[in-house]
């Protein structure tokens, strides 16, 4: 009876992901001045988006959750959805794609994502939304929490693990809090659903019973099949279909603009280096002596 009830109303989850430059060897290309060569760099599902997808998969295995993955981006961003489906065994994929979305800052991006998730809610109440810690290109870490606030969901950042009490509809999570000059803290927190989670880079799913591990294998197989035919699960929405107000998305809906981009001027040299030839063993001996001298001196103090 209880199980039947749960089957009838499983957890509804959404994962927000992003297509990002691939920083791995062979994919990334840097200009000679150390900056990223965007034209030559390939794109993939962002690493933090991948972790968010894995966090959602945990609830699929443990609670039989239904998962939707969403992204805002150009048509090619559907590849990020496919990769996220492979990780999460998502039941549906949503791409919000419209030329008027481009150039959006975090607030205008959050507006699109909020509208998309509200639209998903039409098919059943949303319980948990996951997003990555931050994108590896933009790195603001703002879009997740801003989407959460617009949705009116409780926001929990830096989550390293979580569990849900389905009956009470309460989520408990552990969060990692690192602040300048203070020891790191792991905080245990509870919040009623719905909740918006950004996962900490250190998040790991643990399937610690045989039945969970078996379920995990089963869903992984399903995910592989689904991802091969990901287009069957894909819905694409433009601005009109999403019913967003054009004034609140893209460039018109962005409070901020990029005013200029410049090379960071070289700071005045703060130290004057003695330059040593790396092939000169005599010189390296002196360096070794110097290191021993300093480290030894500190030891004696």
């Amino acid at each position: 009876m209880e199980i039947a009830e749960l089957m009838a109303s499983p957890l509804n989850l959404a994962v927000i992901v992003k297509l990002e430059p691939d920083f791995s060897e062979g994919s990334v290309s840097y200009n000679s001045d150390g900056t990223l060569n965007r034209a030559e760099t390939k794109s993939i599902l962002g690493p933090h988006s991948a972790i968010a997808s894995a966090a959602a998969f945990y609830a699929k295995v443990k609670y039989g959750a239904v998962i939707s993955v969403a992204t805002m981006g150009p048509p090619i961003a559907d590849s990020a959805l496919q990769q996220a489906q492979l990780i999460s065994d998502a039941d549906s994929l949503h791409l919000y794609s419209d030329r008027i979305f481009s150039g959006a800052d975090t607030l205008a991006t959050a507006e699109v994502l909020k509208t998309g998730i509200k639209k998903m809610e039409g098919t059943g109440k949303m319980d948990i939304v996951f997003s990555g810690h931050r994108a590896s290109d933009g790195e603001t870490g703002q879009t997740g929490p801003q989407t959460a606030w617009k949705l009116g969901y409780t926001f929990l950042g830096n989550v390293i693990c979580y569990d849900v009490d389905i009956e009470k509809r309460i989520l408990t999570a552990k969060r990692l809090i690192t602040l300048q000059g203070t020891p790191d803290v792991i905080e245990e927190i509870e919040a009623p659903l719905p909740v918006f989670i950004t996962v900490d880079p250190s998040y790991r799913s643990v399937f610690n019973t045989v039945s969970l591990r078996l379920a995990s294998v089963k869903y992984q197989k399903e995910a592989e099949q689904r991802a091969q035919n990901y287009k069957n699960y894909l819905k694409i929405f433009n601005a009109q279909q999403l019913e967003v107000d054009p004034k609140f998305v893209g460039l018109p809906g962005s409070p901020t603009i990029v005013y200029k981009v410049e090379r960071i001027p070289k700071a005045r040299a703060s130290r004057r280096a003695e330059v040593i030839d790396g092939l000169d063993q005599q010189q390296l001996r002196r360096v070794a002596e110097k290191i021993h001298e300093i480290v030894g001196r500190v030891v004696n103090q």
Partner: protein, 419 residues
């Protein structure tokens, strides 16, 4: 200020209107609000750094615009009266003190509500300064800290206040700007006064992006965007000297909370030790993209050197993105964000710092510049790290490290014999 060079063109009444409306809104946005971070009443250093920068900016602002706008600190917590006084000594003109048992630990939901209430509160603003209280709507500028708490809090507060936010800022300037923007000004030149230029280093550490938060003057999408807000990288700005002679006012604020706000509960808090421990090592060795020719072998050499010096190992930011395929567990052990030294990681100050194949992007330098003695090993004689080290060993790490390790070992034996 010098007279405006943007005399409205009579042929474009649209722009004239929008300029007027901007001037009307001028009185609605006042002061610089700084959101304070503390850990159970112990101030996080970035709070004082933000106050220092806020004070410097607003002193210039007030002199330049003949105004008396304030630096206002917002503090949430329990037993925070003493802390409020400290904030005055460090540069705040006014401190808004929100003492409430539900605010003991940072919880995003409740903190966002309270800070947004404070930011919109006319009574608070009138106590801060009666001068501008009539038309006060929201702060002109707002600072948060770009850390684990402030990053999220700034995002949600600005989503609530519906304005712009720039993250990870390390330079700020207030300027009058002539802006021509397709959307903001409908392609017309418009003057934006008292605009906060927010400088943000990108992930490479080589590019600086200036972000502005601007009202939409374009009549089709007209909107006011205030406060102009940002999160500030810890460890960048200098705090002021503590000065107990400095005076300021402390304003108590009682937030309006409902039952739902209290439904998020902290159950437990436990101090945890990162497996990476820079603070208790006298030497820190970091490596960067210079390992690229043979990543795995080079990391091996670096680990050997670290063992020799009993050093902790750090990395530059790009390494945490695992740009090279290296076998597990080497990659998970060393190429991770826990080890990043710099503005997006940890700040270290060991007696000896050895930077191997690290180019020396500003972001990285900010995390190690307080080190005692700095040695850099780099094949590129022009890399910026050269200006930040005491000894620059020019050469390929594949060649330098084996010799250096051998020398260190030899000398250690000699030292042990002498003992």
């Amino acid at each position: 200020m010098a007279a405006s060079t943007t005399v409205p063109d009579p042929r474009t009444p649209v722009r004239e209107n929008s300029t007027n409306s901007a001037n009307e809104s001028e009185g609605s946005y006042r002061h610089l609000y700084v959101v304070v971070e503390h850990d159970d009443s112990n101030l996080i250093p970035v709070t004082l750094e933000m106050l220092g920068e806020a004070r410097r900016l607003m002193d210039i602002f007030n002199a330049r615009y003949s105004s008396t706008e304030k630096v206002v600190a917002i503090v949430l917590g329990v037993n925070i009266k003493k802390l409020c006084e400290e904030l005055v000594y460090y540069g705040a003109d006014a401190v808004i003190c929100v003492e409430n048992p539900n605010l003991r630990y940072p919880i995003n939901l409740i903190d966002t509500k309270v800070i947004s209430q404070v930011a919109r509160d006319k009574v608070c603003a009138s106590k801060v300064s009666p001068e501008y209280s009539e038309e006060f709507k929201k702060p002109r500028y707002m600072f948060f800290s770009a850390d684990n708490v402030g990053r999220h809090l700034s995002s949600t507060v600005l989503a609530e206040l519906e304005s712009g936010l720039a993250s990870d800022i390390n330079k700020l300037v207030i300027e009058d700007l002539e802006i021509k923007h397709e959307h903001k000004t409908k392609g017309q030149l418009a003057r934006y006064e008292k605009t906060l230029e927010m400088y943000r280093p990108d992930f490479s550490g080589f590019l600086w992006t200036t972000i502005l938060c601007l009202d939409n003057r374009n009549p089709a999408i007209q909107r006011e965007y205030h406060p102009q807000a940002c999160s500030i990288i810890p460890g960048v700005f200098a705090p002021l000297q503590r000065d107990p002679a400095r005076t300021g006012i402390i304003v108590d604020f009682s937030p309006e909370l409902d039952q739902a706000d209290k439904s998020v509960k902290v159950l437990n808090r436990q101090i945890t030790k990162s497996p990476v421990d820079f603070d208790s090592h006298k030497a820190v060795i970091s490596f960067g993209r210079g390992i690229k020719d043979s990543p795995e072998d080079n990391i091996k050499l670096i680990v050997e050197l670290a063992n020799e010096l009993n050093a902790e190992i750090g990395v530059s930011l790009p390494i945490s993105k695992r740009p090279y395929s290296v076998r597990e567990p080497v990659s998970s052990l060393y190429m991770n964000s826990d080890r990043v030294i710099g503005t997006s990681g940890r700040k270290v100050a060991p007696a000896v710092y050895v930077a191997i194949g690290v180019s020396g992007a500003m972001q990285h330098i900010a995390g190690m510049k307080e080190s005692g003695f700095v040695i850099a090993i780099n094949a590129d004689a022009n890399s910026p790290i050269k200006d930040e080290c005491d000894i620059f060993i020019r050469g390929r790490m594949e060649e330098v490290l084996p010799v250096l390790i051998e020398e260190l070992k030899k000398q250690k034996q000699v030292m042990e014999v002498h003992k």
